[in-house]
Point group: C2
Chain length 212, copies 2
């Protein structure tokens, strides 16, 4: 098989999401100004790390005065392209797919699932109100909504095939919940999320701890 490099997601960016989450909460609590150590404390990192992360993305504060909550939020949100919300599609309406399509957190975070797809005609009919389409309409909807991001929640056997199709139809970012590591061209970003692994790694760490 031809080696296709996966485009990975920067570490510091991951943490900036974390800071953003904290910041949203602080903001609703009426906090107007934060310091690197405020965020560090909440995120479980050092204040230097917070500042380095900001520095890397050209986010700057006020020496002595810290950061204004609203400014910081809007700078992050610009960074996240959150001024306009992100339209994504979801492929595979099994248990996980259905749960994600109803997951309230997403829209609060500017992630809008414009349509879901499944080969099962029953799932298409059963939820006619909830935008579940057959895969045949993928191309049309991707173009209509100018979607570039897809969430894959299909079974492992079909995941790579679905992925290839999506890439051919113009998808440039994929969040993959199926338990296979997808191969994509370099110009496509993939984030492989394996839920079993997430749980197993905790199981393992705990049993190792007991041994020691």
């Amino acid at each position: 098989m031809k080696q296709i490099t996966k485009h990975n997601i920067r570490n510091s960016l991951r943490r900036i999401f974390l800071y953003h989450g904290l910041l949203v909460r602080l903001n609703t609590m009426g906090v107007t100004r934060v310091f690197s150590y405020t965020l560090a404390e909440g995120a479980g990192v050092t204040p230097e790390q917070v500042r380095k992360d900001f520095s890397e993305y050209r986010i700057r504060g006020n020496r002595r005065g810290g950061y204004l909550t609203v400014t910081l939020l809007s700078e992050m949100e610009t960074l996240f392209n959150r001024d306009r919300i992100s339209n994504v599609i979801l492929v595979g309406m099994g248990n996980l797919g259905q749960a994600l399509s109803k997951y309230g957190q997403f829209i609060q975070r500017g992630i809008n699932i414009v349509a879901s797809f499944d080969i099962d005609p029953y799932k298409q009919k059963a939820r006619a109100d909830s935008n579940v389409y057959p895969p045949g309409r993928l191309q049309e909807i991707i173009e209509r909504f100018r979607v570039t991001i897809a969430i894959i929640t299909v079974p492992d056997i079909s995941a790579q095939e679905v992925c290839n199709d999506l890439v051919n139809m113009g998808i440039r970012g994929i969040v993959n919940f199926s338990p296979v590591l997808l191969k994509v061209p370099v110009y496509v970003v993939v984030n492989n999320v394996n839920l079993s692994d997430e749980i197993e790694s905790v199981v393992m760490s705990v049993s190792r701890m007991k041994e020691e």
Copy 2:
């Protein structure tokens, strides 16, 4: 607030889960022997990385002969404590909780959700067959099944509180799907999984790529 250090999960261990997944598939395909580059190719890493990871966990192969699939699988599975399956509990039966409780991949991987909990009495009744209990019965069930691992899928506001309770009741490993970073004592392992972040980071990487 007192700083409580989070016990993190080793990087190499994460990759070993990946290799394991590949290996299971190769094994069912009838492959009896693998090499470091076989796994490396499938996991998107270098062969040296694979060998280093194995080396770290005292998994050794046969020079020139590579690794026997079944031996490697059983070595990994011993490592994962997979000889006996892991009993876990799930707290919070919202959309995501329900999906996870029905997620077929888990049992295949030796993860057994012995009971689910929710404060909503409707959810307890509605699925009387499916082991949904009120939180009042947590202590009892944790002790009865000797559970040490919990999956948290409650709303963000109650997450830290639920977490504290669980730790007091003897839980030593937590997989947290609520969008807060849980603080736990050093002897507890936490894996914070934020689904919005997983998607957002892809959204962001894609929009950065377009700019360049």
